[in-house]
């Protein structure tokens, strides 16, 4: 019943997407045709209604254990808690595509309604592109990836979600955020392509899509951050980023979207980089499709290859189609969108933004090559190779340092041509940075870490300098107090001043990365209950083994008392007076999994994280194997990343005219 209704609503969605596409394509030559525009809006509403109904049916089936539907049987069992039944929608391929299509349908409707009656020669073309993309996704669902496919016999119970996904609350929100980011990028893409299709505009789409792009970027940032956190909290190796193909797949669009956010400002301000911007947006969109393909086709071995299917060829075909169509459209309109002028001076903000684009794209290209390289080698020679973290780390350290320098310079320099004032600013910046680097050098920091921290300092001082200068100028002009003046800066130019805040957040993230990569202490020991081990200034004592049966899993936890200092006298003493903390690393036994899933326990301070994993245990001998990792500055990554996300949200927040 639900399967039937769900599939019918998908058919409705396909009909609406196809209808909208055809109507608008047919009306492409007839501009300012209100009837066709109304049809377009109706089709967008129908598309959204159809996909929404399908989502509701799927959620009802997941929540209500309708195991006659293959997708439900594969991703939920009777012990799955409600939250993860709801989240089961994005636990595997078919549901993810349904979610993707839903977000896209919502955005399409939003575009249709928001720009109703405005830009009549641009919006129909934009909607045409959006309907085209939507048609692909809903089409896939009535074809090879039908989420409502039935099983011939209803199993008494389902298998349940992959325990790695079910083991952490973040899994409930990490994928939807990434998807909002991915799908959100199809809006600037549709506007760019609509601009090319209509052949009427060159620069309007920049302003129109600014906020859409910011929302997509912020979601991608949040999704990446939560993904890193999930990896840290669940996978049990004490790291947060592994250059896994699917992490890379999400990181590439982020880099290109970041580049676009900066270069779009150059186009808005200076009417430059038009072709570049269109190309960037096409690239970002292609990378989101590529990312989905990598995640869901199982083409590369990855911790994310939870689902594999026959959908790969369809995605490759779509990727090829989008490439060809975008490229032809760009080529055809090249003369119209060519820039008239050029850069005034290399010592300008726009020159630095161009440089920042080059660095970001080099990063994205590096990742692309590293990700796809094993495939190329295997296609050419048949040999299986892997590209590991050393490759990426070696290239990303110098690129990251250059990026930070460019960020600092771009903030300090002005649009157009910098003058004596900016040179003075730079002098101060370089002076403070050199002083800091000298101090850090005396503190014993050496090598790439020192250079990176110097660059972080350069960026930080540049941003703080802008806040101070801005607030001082405002205080002088309005006689507001300094804090009030600082606050008014944010109200006056949200995107600029919250933009600087994202830079500061990134500086904090990079400090965390530099710190956590520099000194990691790792100890693995087998302990009897009562015995203790030392790791990096902590003493850990195994206090017991506890079994906690739950509805969907059996949890075996090993309470570990944490003391500071390298004292061995504590071993065996009863109770835990003076303990800093009691950590409870555990292993979770899910019935659908062969091997237990560990849940590490973390004691986090601003200086360092103590990360304890229960590797194995023996209840008869009352012993456990513990791995303890002490990593400096990890929490800075979460703090800095959160600042970036909040700044992104506030920068894109609709400002109320007062």
């Amino acid at each position: 019943m639900m399967a039937m209704l769900g599939f019918l609503s998908l058919m409705l969605a396909v009909g609406c997407a196809a209808g909208g596409l055809v109507t608008l394509l047919a009306g492409h030559r007839l501009r300012h045709d209100p009837a066709r525009a109304a049809w377009g809006r109706a089709a967008a509403a129908g598309l959204f209604a159809g996909v929404t109904l399908a989502v509701v049916m799927m959620e009802a089936a997941l929540i209500g254990f309708d195991f006659s539907i293959r997708y439900v049987a594969a991703n939920v069992n009777r012990a799955t808690p409600l939250l993860f039944r709801v989240a089961g929608l994005w636990g595997a391929l078919e549901g993810s595509i349904l979610l993707w299509a839903w977000i896209l349908a919502a955005l399409t409707l939003l575009v249709a309604v928001k720009y109703r009656g405005r830009h009549p020669d641009l919006i129909p073309s934009v909607l045409t592109v959006l309907f085209g993309i939507a048609l692909f996704f809903v089409g896939v669902m009535v074809g090879p990836a039908n989420p409502f496919a039935r099983l011939p016999v209803v199993p008494p119970d389902g298998r349940g979600l992959n325990p790695l996904l079910q083991n952490h609350l973040l899994m409930a929100i990490h994928p939807p955020l990434l998807y909002v980011g991915y799908v959100g990028l199809s809006i600037p893409y549709a506007f760019a392509m609509g601009t090319l299709l209509s052949g009427q505009h060159r620069d309007e789409w920049m302003t129109l899509t600014r906020r859409w792009t910011l929302v997509a970027w912020t979601s991608l940032t949040a999704g990446l951050l939560l993904g890193a956190r999930w990896s840290y909290d669940v996978l049990g190796w004490g790291g947060y980023w592994a250059w896994d193909p699917v992490e890379n797949a999400a990181f590439m669009p982020w880099l290109v979207a970041t580049a676009f956010i900066h270069s779009s400002m150059v186009q808005e301000r200076r009417r430059l980089l038009r072709i570049w911007n269109v190309s960037l947006v096409i690239l970002a969109f292609l990378l989101t499709i590529f990312g989905t393909f990598l995640t869901r086709s199982g083409i590369l071995a990855s911790v994310h290859s939870f689902t594999q299917s026959l959908i790969g060829p369809v995605f490759v075909a779509f990727l090829g189609l989008v490439m060809v169509a975008s490229f032809l459209a760009l080529l055809a309109r090249l003369p119209q969108i060519r820039d008239e002028g050029g850069l005034d001076s290399p010592l300008s903000r726009e020159a630095m933004m161009l440089l920042n684009n080059v660095v970001l794209l080099t990063m994205a290209f590096t990742i692309f090559v590293g990700t796809i390289f094993p495939l190329i080698v295997e296609a050419a020679t048949g040999a299986k190779v892997t590209v590991g973290p050393p490759f990426f780390n070696r290239l990303f350290v110098p690129l990251g340092i250059v990026l930070l320098m460019v960020m600092g310079l771009g903030t300090a320099l002005r649009w157009g041509r910098s003058g004596a004032e900016e040179m003075r600013k730079l002098g101060w910046l370089i002076g403070i940075t050199l002083l800091t680097v000298t101090a850090l050098g005396f503190a014993g920091i050496r090598g790439a870490g020192l250079v990176a921290l110097g660059a972080v300092c350069f960026v930080t001082v540049a941003q703080v300098g802008e806040y101070v200068r801005g607030a001082l100028a405002r205080r002088a002009a309005t006689s507001e107090s300094f804090p009030v003046a600082l606050r008014s800066l944010f109200a006056l130019n949200r995107q600029r001043y919250y933009g600087y805040l994202t830079h500061l957040g990134l500086a904090i993230v990079i400090t965390g990365i530099v710190g956590s990569q520099s000194g990691r202490i790792e100890v693995q020991r087998q302990l009897l209950v009562g015995q203790a081990m030392q790791v990096g200034g902590y003493t850990l004592r195994l206090d017991g083994l506890v079994a906690l049966p739950g509805a969907d899993k059996l949890v075996v936890a090993a309470p570990v008392a944490v003391f500071s200092g390298n004292s061995t006298a504590l071993a065996g003493s009863p109770g835990s007076p003076g303990a800093l903390d009691i950590l409870r690393p555990s292993e979770n036994f899910y019935r659908q999994a062969r091997t237990p899933v560990p849940t590490p326990a973390v004691r986090s301070t601003w200086r360092q994280d103590l990360y304890v994993v229960l590797m194995a245990f023996d209840p008869a001998a009352q012993s456990a194997v513990l791995r303890a990792v002490v990593t400096p500055l990890v929490s800075w990554i979460w703090v800095g990343g959160t600042i970036m996300v909040i700044a992104g949200v506030l920068a894109g927040w609709p400002s109320h005219p007062t």
């Binding site: 016999v153 199993p155 119970d157 393909f293 086709s297 071995a301 290859s305 060829p313 090829g320 495939l375």
Partner: protein, 191 residues
Amino acid sequence: MAVAPNMRSSWPRVWAGIAGAAGAAVLLLVLVFGLHRDPGAIPSPLIGRQAPEFVLPLFDGGTLATPALRGRVVVVNFWASWCVPACYEEAPHLQRIWDRYRDRGLTVVGVNIQDQDRLARDFIARFGLTFPNGVDRLGTISIDYGVYGVPETFLVDRKGRIVHKYAGAVTEEMLVSEIEPLLADADGASP
């Protein structure tokens, strides 16, 4: 809207087009290549070897000893009633293979592992499976065949050699393409 006239030659555009198209084509070809391989596949060392022999106590009484099947093509399927959805998807296909080829010298053998008797019997009844089906109570058969998960399916030729191993649900079409040449090879020589 004023548009800058394009005075330059169109050749750079053509070349950019060709270069872009070539790059895209290469990328797509690499991806298509990637789809034809399984990154997680570990080839079974049993392929080409003699299939391990076993004696299987059947659900409907009696036993099945594999030496008695020599000269027939055998499909050995390891399954469990909790194996959702793959075992549920492939069961009708296995039954169709049995119906289609049993008179032409093929036997399907179901080996139920890590399951409860009642649930396993219920599974067989609801799918109406009629091919011989039994329980590997001690797990020795699945160890001999190196079974990693359910379902796994092995295809054995008339001479008792393992020709193919499938991990995950099989379909009628997948099996037919492999079975036909094995059956056609009446004297048991390798195809």
